[in-house]
Point group: C2
Chain length 679, copies 2
């Protein structure tokens, strides 16, 4: 009796439901190649004579159809071997989501995915496979593509469902190339690439005697009782529910963001309860550039109760039976369930979101590197919070032996900082090198001073106090990191700017904000402190980040504060991080104006007595700096979106030349007066 057989035998002692999931996990461990376990599992599943569904949450590579197809075929085969009624894949599984403008510039990708869907259909048997793909249509009107999903079975395409509601905000750009489907639910296979006018056809798919209503992603996000106001004019789920399906299915690709799990859970629970119909939701997992998809596919029963949920941030094939109540709930990222009903207010209690934040970023780094063909990372270790947290995240994502931390002290760098950097590297087990930048700084500075002497004979606009010396330091460091990246295989430099500093433009172009990837560009400073403490407490190796790094007040150690004679502290140059981060939070989550902020109390104000002049000064500085930071946002390296809103250029678009917006606004009287003066 070999090891596998022994494991199977042990598993078979468990109660039936536990047994199903243990066998399934074992089979996934063996990459679906474990006939003995499959045989046993099939036997058990037979007792459910209908309604067994596989939720195949996979991590695709965008546009790499063959890679994605292999994952799909493997799971279809597994589902068939188990005798499931259906296997459901995420939205646009064949190409990955979001496909973006590739669809328009390289229509060959669409043609290829149609060949593949037809060929995959041929290998299907009794088990139906619901596979997302891009459909091209010959039509005299409208956009030329549908975001579609095909029901495959018995060797052919049985029917096609097309997405009706097209999200077109934040990270979503669906309406750029997709045409909204004029009909909800199934259409016959003859309409493939030829869907001009909807045909009268049963909306629901009947599979093994049960009726399924199929929707795609946004199609389930417009319930007009749950959402007020509604973004769209129709509710595809309601249209299908009116046909009395046994189960409603949704193929999704929905990236994780702060508070989104709470919204999603409440909404899906509401919908299934309202329609008294089980709801199966299958989500993409893995990161595609800035979007980190969390998987966590799930099933709600007809009472709106969570029946099953797949793992977060991992591929999984989860077997459920929404009709007969079979399911298993794998844990969410810690902390999320606690906050399902939490109000939307600014708080420094980041704890409930930290594990999700960590996993979102780790997956973002890992997939960006893997999918672009990189393996190694190099980053500067300053002994400060940003680079320290970045180092931990990168080490966890790529493994420590693939990370080099480089301490690049200047004359301003304290011994404490150097030691902290070295300690961190040692704690973390990453490689470490020291490269002082004194010689570079001096050479660059000499060249520049000579140039400046020439230039000021022509231009009478030399600053009395410039940031040139600060920037030379930051850029010298980036020069070394990029040099390493150029010299060693599959190695990218890491940009360590955080979100608070990016809002303030407090980052050097071609310096600390430059790199192949920016892991913490969507984490504010106050949250970063919390994350550092969380990492110290929750990683297997405790306390890798020296306490002195966390206790130190952040500053770039690029310049000496003339007032103190010590390195400049960022909060002294800007404003308290607690205040700054609340401004960011209010803009991003409440769309508040300057005036609204001025008129309502900040958390910081409750704990510190600040004058209105002080508040005005900070707010003015914030808006002024934010306006001029737009250029920096536009050249920000790829970075993973973590928060409910971000400055990622794929998520938020603001022309740089709009830097003269009057965010403070004017009263009607003021406007009237201004116009009168013009007359």
């Amino acid at each position: 009796m070999n090891k596998t057989d022994k494991k199977i035998e042990d598993i078979l002692q468990l109660p039936e439901s536990e047994c199903i999931y243990a066998l399934n996990e074992l089979i996934e461990e063996y990459n679906f190649d474990c006939p003995e376990a499959i045989k046993e599992l099939k036997e058990i599943l037979k007792t459910y004579n209908y309604g067994n569904i596989g939720l195949a949450q996979i991590n695709p590579i965008l546009g790499n159809i063959q890679y994605n197809a292999q994952k799909i075929v493997k799971r279809i085969k597994y589902a068939e071997n188990l005798g499931l009624d259906m296997v459901v894949f995420p939205e646009l599984t064949l190409t990955g989501y979001p496909i973006d403008d590739i669809i328009d510039r390289h229509p060959v990708v669409v043609e290829e995915n149609i060949k593949w869907i037809k060929e995959i259909a041929k290998i299907t048997g009794k088990t139906r496979a619901l596979v997302g793909f891009i459909e091209k249509v010959k039509s005299n009107t409208g956009r030329r593509y549908y975001n579609a999903a095909a029901v495959l079975g018995e060797g052919k395409i049985e029917s096609i469902v097309r997405k009706t509601l097209l999200p077109n905000y934040s990270e979503f750009y669906d309406a750029r190339y997709f045409e909204p489907s004029p009909i909800v639910g199934a259409q016959p296979p003859e309409t493939l690439c030829n869907f001009q006018k909807p045909v009268d056809y049963p909306k629901l798919n009947i599979i093994n005697g049960k009726k399924y209503g199929i929707t795609i992603c946004e199609d389930c996000w417009n319930n007009n009782e749950f959402f007020i106001p509604n973004l769209y004019h129709s509710d595809p789920v309601k249209t299908l529910a009116d046909e009395f399906p046994d189960v409603i299915i949704n193929c999704s690709a929905s990236p994780t963001r702060t508070k989104k799990e709470q919204l999603k859970h409440n909404m899906l629970s509401y919908i299934s309860r309202m329609h008294k119909t089980p709801f199966v939701y299958v989500n993409q997992v893995g990161a595609i550039d800035n979007n980190s998809f969390d998987g966590s596919s799930r099933v709600y029963n007809a009472r709106g109760e969570l029946l099953a949920r797949a793992k977060s941030f991992e591929e999984q094939f989860l077997i459920v039976n929404p009709i007969k109540g079979l399911g298993k709930i794998y844990p969410l990222a810690n902390g999320l369930e606690k906050t399902l009903q939490e109000p939307k207010i600014f708080t420094l209690d980041y704890e409930p979101d930290l594990e999700r934040t960590y996993k979102t970023i780790i997956q973002g780094i890992r997939d960006y590197f893997a999918k672009t063909g990189f393996k190694r990372a190099v980053l500067g270790l300053s002994g400060g919070l940003d680079s320290s947290v970045s180092a931990v995240l990168v080490a966890d994502a790529l493994s420590p032996q693939n990370v080099f931390g480089v301490s690049m002290p200047s004359k301003i760098t304290s011994n404490e900082s150097k030691n902290d950097a070295q300690t961190l590297a040692a704690n973390l087990g990453i490689h470490f090198a020291v490269a002082p930048i004194k010689a570079m700084y001096e050479t660059v500075n000499n060249s520049l001073q000579e140039l400046f002497t020439t230039i000021e004979t022509k231009w009478d606009v030399r600053y009395k106090h410039s940031f040139t010396p600060d920037n030379i330091q930051a850029r010298s460091r980036a020069m070394l990191l990029w040099g390493i990246s150029n010299e060693f295989g599959q190695c990218l430099p890491i940009a360590t700017s955080d979100k608070s500093e990016l809002y303030m433009g407090y980052a050097t172009v071609n310096g600390d904000m430059s790199g192949g990837f920016a892991p913490i560009a969507d984490v504010t400073k106050t949250k970063l402190f919390a994350l550092a403490r969380w990492l110290n407490k929750n990683r297997e190796t405790k306390n890798v980040i020296p306490e002195s790094i966390i206790l130190k007040r952040p500053g770039a150690e690029l310049a000496i504060d003339p007032k103190t004679g010590k390195p400049l502290i960022a909060e002294d140059a800007l404003m308290p991080y607690e205040f700054m981060d609340e401004v960011i939070w209010r803009i991003e989550n409440k769309h508040e104006s300057y005036k609204e902020m001025f008129e309502t109390e900040f958390l910081y104000e409750r704990e510190h007595n600040i004058s209105l002049e002080q508040k005005t000064e900070w707010l003015d500085k914030f808006y002024r700096r934010m306006s001029t930071a737009l250029y920096k946002w536009s050249i920000l390296p790829p970075s993973v979106i973590v928060d409910a809103r971000s400055i990622n250029k794929n998520d938020y678009r603001q022309p740089i030349t709009s830097s003269k917006i009057n965010y403070k606004g004017q009263t009607t009287d003021e406007i009237e007066k201004i116009i009168t003066e013009w007359m």
Copy 2:
């Protein structure tokens, strides 16, 4: 009799129509403050007792409502003084277009623009003013904003028109926040910010007894005879034409691109002829980041003939009477009219597009600097084509005394290159400095070599031949340029990468592709050669670019070619530019696939005998390099779009992790075989 009176007297001797335009030009010269001329002009215009319209093409600053409002008020006053029936402004005049995500994140901007539209209405009299603005709506369904235009007159808002067709491709993102108007034509003023259900109301606006049908931008781009297929399901112009208006009006903000003038002219001419109705088209002018709007507002008569056209790339107030046939046709950029009926094929005859290209870029640079508060530019002068053409463009946009050219020779730089750079600067009249990078190169290289020794003890993946030395040179130069920018007021460094090289990723991160603005990022190399010759021939000062720069084969002078012992020539490392630029053109204009390119003859093939192996090698290299250039495109500095398609990240969106796309495609048989192997 003062100078103005003398000018007016001279003008009054001209034939009536000439007289109108000469007076109007004089008044614009005086910034609308020339009562004597206004009085005379008003007198002449009285003979047209209805139908006089002012086309007010203005250059707004995005989001700077007060700045824009001042321009609007001034022109409303002028139109009123002249007794015109109407003055028409471009789309979203109050805020500027495109407003992008500002609309969502900072709703205060929308609130402000509504206060302003109400106040501006109060100063109107008999003359109607058509002013574009953003309307916020309280509604339980749909997006919360309309792209609207208000007809102002007699001190109030008379009616409101809302955009129905929302462009959402390339540089357009209208559908992200705007709701398409469910109704075409006018709605009553009570619907302001309260447009939930359309009211039964006359679609046309009656002004001084004549009927006007008003549309906004994309609303006129869906004629289903001119365009096959059609992008949208309705044609607002047709809906209005069915009501028999005397004139159809369109408020636009439509950026210039290669071949767009031809399309626009043919389409507008077609529409006016088809509906037998004069068509008035008013376009925004000026650049907003990457979008350069060309103005060229115009009128077609009921036979589809061009009756009037305003200047290109300049603000203008053009007086027309579409009903009575009053108009003046100002010249387009040279060359465009020649090509109105030209087929869409790849050609090296760039001549007809060069003046437009020049003006598009000049305006792009000038407005980016002016609108962000910069005045000066610094750029490296290598003696090569890219930096030379960039220098001319920047000097022309900002004036020579605001430009510093810096020659930064390394040991590879030839004396010829140094001399060429100096000659160019002298010819152009820009400031010039020399800053050898030898010392920087050596210091950086020393620091790096030391680091590399440490790193290779841990990482066994050091390249035998790396690009590190090349990149150190490019980055040292950028370090100096950014240093100057940090040290001197309102000064930005210029990135000199061209489009062909960016496609190939043949540009250094934090090196030549880094800068505050990239003027030639959308100009391919073969076009750049043509542009250099055009500049030498057509600028007031002839031959500023030394012939030796144009004759030299391009190369970065960063490395020595071991085969020749001379600096590496880019075409030897890549492929002939003529071939490369045709690949780019076919992808961007024909959406061709690898296979289609392989199977059809290139212009280059007609003139050179190349083997299929050679063609395969070049195509393979092109696709491989293009895939890995995506990261560089994502951090490309702001740059002006020139061509029909571009890599500008606001225009073309492709996730970097999609670099594994199989652009070559597979046959059905191959796919079947692959799947069989998986089974």
